[in-house]
């Protein structure tokens, strides 16, 4: 005869009464006996749930923490990965060209560093900053519109000088494809002029990176502080 169907196998595993010919089959057929043993094992597992209990649900704060960490820190790895790709694929000649271009951008950033005491300003956008290592609050970045129509990025953040390296301030686009250096951070409170015509909304990531004095003007991939401007 054919093998027992699932329903009968389950009845045997549960110790429910079955027809005598079905019981006999299960006793003599290896395949059906194996199935009953398997289902019995599942049954025993279910019975052990009575002691351990069912699934627990994590508190809602866990998802909130994940989604904010992902929104905030997602670019970090991408930036490091991009740097790796760039390193591998860039010829020395290209590095030279990039270095020349970078020096100009860096020069603009430093040259346009302005004094904190300015006339009336209007806040355009703000970015809470996070220390990427400790994931703690690391101050704030604000884009402000000055009376003369120019825009500045004001950083109020933690500052610690590093031997052999500088802290560079960047605005980066959401795809981490384009970025501009605004200059170097030399104190915990600093104001950088945003070049006229530069669309800040297209580069909402405020990033502070450790840049070794290695002559490489591109982003090191070692970001220490980051925030996203929320207009």
């Amino acid at each position: 005869m054919s093998h027992l169907d699932d329903d009968v196998l389950a009845m045997l595993a549960l110790g429910d009464p079955v027809a005598s010919h079905e019981r006999e089959h299960a006793a003599t057929c290896d395949e059906c006996a194996r199935q009953v043993a398997e289902i019995s094992r599942t049954r025993a597992g279910l019975e052990s749930l009575a002691q351990t209990g069912g699934l627990l649900a994590p508190p809602p704060a866990v998802w909130e923490a994940i989604s904010s960490q992902v929104r905030r820190g997602d670019g970090a790895d991408e930036l490091a990965a991009r740097r790796e790709r760039t390193r591998r694929s860039t010829s020395p000649w290209m590095v030279g060209v990039a270095a020349a271009a970078g020096l100009v951008i860096g020069g603009v950033g430093v040259a346009t560093l302005v004094n904190g005491a300015e006339a009336a300003r209007e806040q355009v956008a703000v970015a809470p900053l996070t220390n990427l290592e400790t994931e703690q609050d690391a101050g704030v970045a604000r884009v402000e519109l000055r009376a003369d129509g120019s825009q500045v990025l004001v950083l109020e953040t933690e500052y610690e000088p590093i031997d052999g390296a500088a802290l560079e301030v960047w605005l980066i686009d959401e795809n981490v494809e384009g970025m501009i250096s605004l200059g170097f951070l030399t104190s915990g409170s600093e104001t950088f002029v945003i070049p006229a015509g530069f669309d800040v909304t297209a580069y909402p990531i405020v990033d502070v990176s450790v840049e070794p004095f290695d002559g490489d003007p591109t982003h090191s991939g070692q970001s220490v502080t980051r925030g996203v401007l929320d207009a």
Partner: protein, 191 residues
């Protein structure tokens, strides 16, 4: 009584899982939340059982999903289900947390007598997986099975409470038992 298999919902669930896996690998918006809704309970319960501390379990749950998202490009939908991949990351995180704790314990002799962290996690895994699959059965079977096995109610009592014929309750239990056996068998989560 025929041998009709309950294929419909299972096949749909597999299709859904495959689609979610592809979306996740591609970094689609919402896919992280979808997989979180699916397996956060499994990950959290596994961590809470293995670590015996709910705050640590919350941290591990958070780390698991953040790591999974960061590593999403390395998930290959052709090689298995996303939920199994995420649970694999959780196992690693829990084992790391146990390992760290063992290193912090001063009494080395007492610690070395314990089984390794991986063994501790895996001892809990099958039980937690079964609790997860039980919930996946959906109504009314998840309710019936929870009443029968978690709460230890008699089939008569369940039939009474749910206003269902006794034969229907028994039939649901048998089918659920088979479905769970099948799920535990194919589950690549535990491997």
């Amino acid at each position: 009584m025929g041998t009709r298999r309950d294929v419909g919902s299972t096949d749909l669930a597999r299709l859904d899982a495959a689609r979610l896996g592809r979306e996740f690998a591609a970094g689609s918006e919402g896919s992280l939340e979808a997989i979180y809704k699916d397996v956060a309970g499994l990950v959290y319960t596994l961590a809470a059982r293995a670590l015996g501390d709910e705050h640590e379990a919350e941290d591990v749950t958070q780390q698991t999903f953040v790591s999974a998202w960061k590593a999403r490009a390395t998930f290959d939908p052709a090689r298995g289900e996303l939920r199994g991949w995420v649970v694999g990351i959780a196992r690693k995180r829990i084992a790391d947390a146990l390992d760290k704790r063992r290193r912090e314990v001063r009494n080395v002799d007492a610690v070395s007598a314990l089984s390794g962290p991986e063994a501790t996690v895996d001892a809990e895994l099958e039980n937690v997986l079964l609790a997860y699959e039980l919930e996946q059965l959906g109504p009314p079977r998840n309710t019936i099975m929870a009443m029968a096995f978690l709460d230890g109610h008699t089939h008569d009592h369940i039939a009474d409470q749910l206003d269902m014929p006794l034969g229907t309750v028994k039939s649901h239990i048998r089918r659920s038992l088979i479905a769970l056996r099948d799920r535990m068998e194919v589950s690549d989560v535990a491997s």
